[in-house]
């Protein structure tokens, strides 16, 4: 089945420099570009992916993460079905900052059941500061999907996005169009338990 069923809006957030843009580039173009400039404001990419025979188009919004750009992002939370929280496993403060990001999502997202995924990035690097267990624990506490990844070595990247999309599709009512603006499309949805797949 090749017809694109629906477009899902995904958001990537987290402190500046944790590798959000790199993860996105890895996912969309399977590239790692050390020459990637620091994001200004928001940027976005599109990619179609097929899961369980259903093709969905992803519109993924990448954000800058610096304090000064923060005020721009809340608008992009609106209508997003999924959000990826990224931290750098070699920078503890990017992990401790996650609660701030969580509050922001809770405040501004319009979907009650928005799917949240936590990605611990840069596991290829040596000086790890945040253990996998800590990441897991945080994800469980906040009902998030969790994965560790490296945009550089491509570990976990594709899996992260696929898991997220699958979860969105399985969450009843989440991927449906808001206020009937875009016609309703029916993807069969299997019922699975809560989202803590950690």
């Amino acid at each position: 089945m090749d017809a694109v069923l629906t477009t899902l809006k995904i958001l990537i957030i987290g402190d500046s420099g944790v590798g959000k843009s790199s993860l996105l580039l890895r996912f969309t173009d399977d590239k790692f570009d050390p020459e990637q400039a620091a994001t200004i404001g928001v940027d976005f990419k599109v990619k179609a992916i097929t899961i369980d025979g259903n093709t969905v188009k992803l519109a993924i919004w990448d954000t800058a993460g610096q304090e000064r750009f923060r005020t721009l992002t809340p608008s992009y939370y609106r209508g997003a079905q999924g959000v990826i929280f990224v931290y750098d496993t070699t920078q503890r403060e990017t992990f401790t900052h996650l609660t701030t990001w969580l509050t922001e999502v809770e405040t501004y997202s319009t979907k009650p059941a928005i799917v949240k995924m936590l990605v611990g990035n840069k596991i290829d690097k040596e000086n790890r500061q945040v253990s996998r267990e800590e990441g897991l624990k945080f994800a469980r506490k906040h009902c998030m999907l969790f994965i560790e990844a490296s945009a550089k070595t491509r570990d976990g990247v594709e899996c992260a996005f696929e898991e997220l999309v699958e979860k969105v599709i399985q969450t009843p009512g989440l991927w449906e169009a808001e206020d009937g603006r875009h016609g309703n499309v029916n993807i069969h949805s299997t019922n699975t338990g809560g989202y803590c797949q950690c």
């Binding site: 620091a38 928001v42 206020d179």
Partner: protein, 1064 residues
Amino acid sequence: MSESEDENAVVQEDEVFEITDFTNASDWESFITQIEEIITNWNLTSYVKLQPLQNNEITNGDWEAVTAHLKFTNVPFTMTLHRLKFKPDTEQFVEELNEEDDDKIPHPQYVEDMMCIDNDFPARAHCIARWYGLRCFLILSISSSNGITNQSKCNLLTSSVSIALSNMSCDVPFFVQIQENWRRMYEGKAVSTGMSTQFEMVHLKKCPQQYAYLSGLLHLFKNKIGLTSLLSGETRVSARFTYVLHDWGIDGKWPAKPPDPEAVASHFGTLLYGCLEDPVTELQLAAVWPSMTGDLVIDNDIHSDFKPLSAPRWVVRLCYADDLTCLLSSYLYEFIKATNRTESMSDLLNVLEDHTTDKHLGQALEKITDPSAGGMLPGVKLASGLTKVVTDSQTLFRKSAYTLGRIAAVRGRIPREVLNNIKSYMFFQESTNSRQSSSQQQQASTYTFYHKLKAAPIDSLTHHLAMCAIVVNLCHGGLSALAQVWHVFVSELRTMLDKGECLPGIDSSKPDLNTCLLHQKLQMLNCCIQRKVLREQRSPRSSSEVDFKVNPSFVDISEDLTESNNHNNHMATDESKNETTPLKEVDKYDGNLETSENAAASSNHSERLSSNDSRGKFSVQSDDEDEFFECESDIDLGDTEQKHITSGDQHQEISEQQSLDQVSFTVNSNKTEDGAIISRDDVEHSTNENKDSMVDIDVSYPAEGRLKPCDDLNLLRCNSSLFIPHTQDHAPVTEDQLEEQAEVFSKLGDTKEGSKVRAKMQSASLRSDMEAFKSANPGCVLEDFVRWYSPRDFENGELSQRMKIPQNLWVTTWKSAKPVPAHRQKRIFDDTKEAEKVLHFLTNLKPAEAAQMLIPVCTHEALLVLRLASDAMKESLPSLPLICNQIEARAAQIFKQWHMYGSVANQFQPWTKDIQSKVEDLFRQITFAETMIERARSLQHKFRNLGDTAQVNAFVRQLLEHPEVPLDEAAVGPVGCIIKYYFQNQQNIVVEAESPLSSEQSEDVRLPKEIPPLPKPAGREFIIRASNSYPSPFSRKLPHRMYAVLMQNEFRLASAVSHDSTFF
């Protein structure tokens, strides 16, 4: 078992039937086979015995109904099994009926049930269960047409079922529905070991004279079962007489005082709630006599032993108004009606040829709202037209409109004084809301209920507007009134903008994206007004615009000098400063700005606030700075400002510059936020040629626009602290503008080029920050900037790799950024333009659209009212808070998903049918809750004399939760006494009405005539039971039963007579 499965079963059966060799079988045989199949599927193929029915189990137990479809010839029938669900613990009690001695054959289950006296007159049950006391039975009814009216057809069906059931050893009674459905006529039969029971019914409009009393009914029953002996004690009788109270009198009527229309019409502070008529229409009192010896009771046309006041049991039941008109719901329903109208402002007024200009419209409105204008105004015409629309309306909510028409005299124009009241309520009135003041503090920044609903804060201008709109819509003539209020509102906004007055009840923060679009727009307008005020407060002293433009920097300096003078004479200046310079005022605004920053920015906020604490420390540092500046000051001066300085006495100017820096810091740190964000937009540094800024490190200018030092960092290339500059605030934006921006960004596509353009588009604030940074930190380099702005991009003493990419936007922007303090930068945010956009947006809304925008705010208010009311009633209605939770959650869901804009900013998008129906549904739920509350309040009022509050609440709760409530001590108990009192009052009224001619002569005749305490019963029910040998005296003794109900317009007998099929 589900219906569809049964259907399958039937279909299968048909197939089997066709394939095997029964081709000669008749329709009749086929029908019987189908029934047998169904009986098998339902596991009814053995005689089972259950535990005896518990007291009231028929009412309180769980019933299930299973349906199967079948056909006779080609006529479709349905078979339904009604059954009280087994309780888990009784299931084990099941025992097989065993055939022993003839005498000791136990009765089948259905006979036990019929004769069980603990379930007489159940409060809620299927009519068959009520008439026969059965807990399990089958009903065969014809699917289509008007029922079975032909007796022979009926007999055929009955015997078919009877054969099938006895083939299958099924002793469940079955009934065939005959006659028209509304008559509820059934004929039935049950077959068991050695016996069968015939269920028959009589249904008449009028009760035959001979059966009007128990005596006649007993006679009939005895005849039917061949009971001829004169022995007493063979029949048992239960009776239930029902009395109706429909007039509660002055003491019981609710609302005790109906709302005063005028008060409702001028009450804007909160929405009111409550019903306009009594939600409790009727009380039915049943006097019940449980099983008595039939032959000892006398009940005939001369005398009756059934004296309700001495009946052993009293039971009450209530009837409620179907379609109650309640205030809170009426506000909402009428408002929803307004949202569906399509008239524009000018259509509504029906006076303008020229629809284009607001001016004309305004004049028309002024005319219409001017009481001095004559009576021939279009308003009058309008009013009658509107009445017609309202009353003709086919909407769901017709009745409420009608009833409230009485409250709300439909008027074409709102009287001027009312309109003035409305205006001053919206714009001037202080909070009168106690709800508000308590929660005001926390509301400022935290995520509260109105955020959840995406509404607006209580007592904000938006809220006041919504309250006025919803009240005038209900009480002052609907849409035209709404249009007038809207016009007044928008005109006043315009005036305030022109005068530079900030909007009352709108906090000074940026648009809060968690509020409704209208509130965001008002916040936006308020931001614009504030900035306008700031600008205008600064510029008057600069003599004239022309001067300002000719040499802006000169003006700047002199202005700042005034400041520094003030500072030097610190003791004396506080007042004079106020007079001579408005700067103090300016900073006050900024203080406001800061404190009301929303939660998302709060981390930033506290950081900046901390500059207060570091003030002392800073002063010392800033002295060091000044030293440093003097040293460097002979270097080439490229900046405009520097040019000015060179033109005068350099040394002196610079020392003034020092004090300037101190002053501006002192002032600012006092009030925290940057005081000079957007003034002097005329100075457009960014457009000047900037060749000189390419110089690698430029320390040739004095520092300006510092906020505070950044930690303990020093500049990399100079020996100086790194300062965080004052920066331009991000432009305030509303959600529709953000959406538009997002749309533009996404249209650029996900190519590299698109990415670049996006970054470029968003780099304005980066550039502004860089320029401010440069201005605050002479001698800085990009590394310094990055250390403040994006610290993680400065690692191991150098820029991160990505920052070092040649020609990346950070580098290029940095190179082209000139040192300009925020207050002299071109303003990023054009408040004049934005204010016009908001006003244009609001002016162009149709009244119906304006109403739509206000719906979340009105709903928010309604839900607060409902919550308060429900909390007050939770003793009587413990489930109500949960219902409120559900309604609130639903509302939050709806309003969060409702976009009121399209992909272009400042364009209202009317709601979709989907949203509309969701909102209507929400309002229905609110109505339901309000109705529940009113029932409870009405009952609390009626039974207020029952005892203390807890007792009253407990009784009301019982009344609301159960279909019928038995009364302790019947007529003499506490409730009984209250009810007797109400009945007595009703009787008095009735009797007075019956004998209105109480002339002097007849007075003596009237006095002795006693008024009966209760009216004639509206209905009498009897259950008569007996055991007797039937059909012949030699038959086995079997139980029989007859139910009778006698009402004004209905007479029904339902008899169950058992036959001994072994000995007759």
